[in-house]
């Protein structure tokens, strides 16, 4: 894939690096840390098993144990950067950077419905970008449905700018270095 996106000229940030702990707007203590495939996989799969399919975006997350497992394999492999938001023993949010070149990666984030609207998404995206920055990712892009104003506002607040406004989905990009 050729990278002809319009990235911002200036790097965004600085961003926090994991682990971080915050109280969300409901007063729940949430820890955001790097995903560990050895210890977190079961809880992450459980989060997606419980995920409301009405919140799917462009086909992800998929549904069904097998499709979820295959998808998680493909986005948590080597070279990817993953962060989870944890409440007690439960994974309640997940954000991931999947590289499409040496320097660029695609971002996606999902927060379990009961934890949405509590500020977790912003912390999770910022902390993931901090982890990505530390891992040497130069530029990050994402797509979001045009009607999803809360998500677009979140990405703008973090520093993403529109990079392709003509395609079906709204594409946004950010520079880390």
């Amino acid at each position: 894939m050729t990278d002809d996106r319009a990235y911002p000229d200036e790097p965004a940030g600085p961003f926090p690096t994991p682990p971080t702990t915050v109280d969300d707007r409901e007063g729940r203590p949430i820890t955001i840390r790097r995903y560990d495939s050895e210890t977190d996989r079961t809880a992450l799969a459980a989060m997606y098993d419980a995920f409301d399919p009405a919140d799917r975006a462009q086909g992800i997350p998929p549904t069904g144990e097998k499709r979820i497992a295959d998808w998680l394999d493909s986005i948590t492999g080597e070279e990817t950067v993953n962060a989870v938001a944890v409440h007690g023993d439960d994974v309640v949010g997940h954000a991931t950077l999947v590289p499409d070149s040496d320097e660029t990666a695609e971002l996606a984030i999902f927060v379990l419905q009961a934890y949405q609207g509590a500020g977790i998404g912003t912390h999770l995206v910022e902390t993931l970008l901090g982890a990505g920055e530390a891992a040497g990712v130069e530029r990050v892009w994402l797509t979001v449905e045009r009607w999803n104003k809360p998500a677009i506002s979140l990405y703008e607040k973090v520093g993403f700018e529109p990079s392709d406004t003509e395609s079906f989905e709204h594409e946004m990009a950010i520079r880390l270095h």
Binding site: G59, I60, W71, V98, A105, E106, L107, T143
Partner: protein, 122 residues
């Protein structure tokens, strides 16, 4: 059924070709293949045509092969409506590194503009 398959040489359009030809072999669909100029690929129309021919030959299916010049989406919709096709068949998009489905520009135009039913092959 009178089917019009649009193919511009992208990977998803090749998959759509294979599935449409497989189906035509079973059902006897009346298949027309329209070779389009997809700005997102650099596939030469002659190469696409030989690919089309080899898939058709492989399944012993006959189809008329047409070349459409100019804007691919609008030319395809125009042909489908003018010649009373029952259905347009297209590749259903590529997936991003993340696994997100991304609709191509031709499929987007056709979905929003066609009065003929559209099948996107996934």
């Amino acid at each position: 059924m009178k089917l019009l398959l649009g193919i511009g040489g992208s990977d998803d359009s090749i998959r759509a070709l294979e599935r449409a030809v497989d189906r035509a072999a079973e059902t006897g669909d009346d298949l027309t293949v329209a070779i389009l100029q997809n700005p997102a690929t650099d596939a030469a129309p002659a190469d696409i045509e030989s690919r089309v021919q080899s898939v058709l030959d492989g399944m012993s299916v006959t189809a008329s092969v047409r070349h459409l010049d100019g804007d691919p989406g609008s030319q395809l919709v125009d042909l489908a409506e003018r010649e009373d096709f029952d259905r347009i068949v297209l590749g259903g998009g590529e997936t991003s590194p993340m696994g997100k489905i991304r609709l191509g520009s031709i499929a987007e135009f056709v979905l929003l503009n066609s009065h003929v039913s559209v099948t996107l092959v996934r």
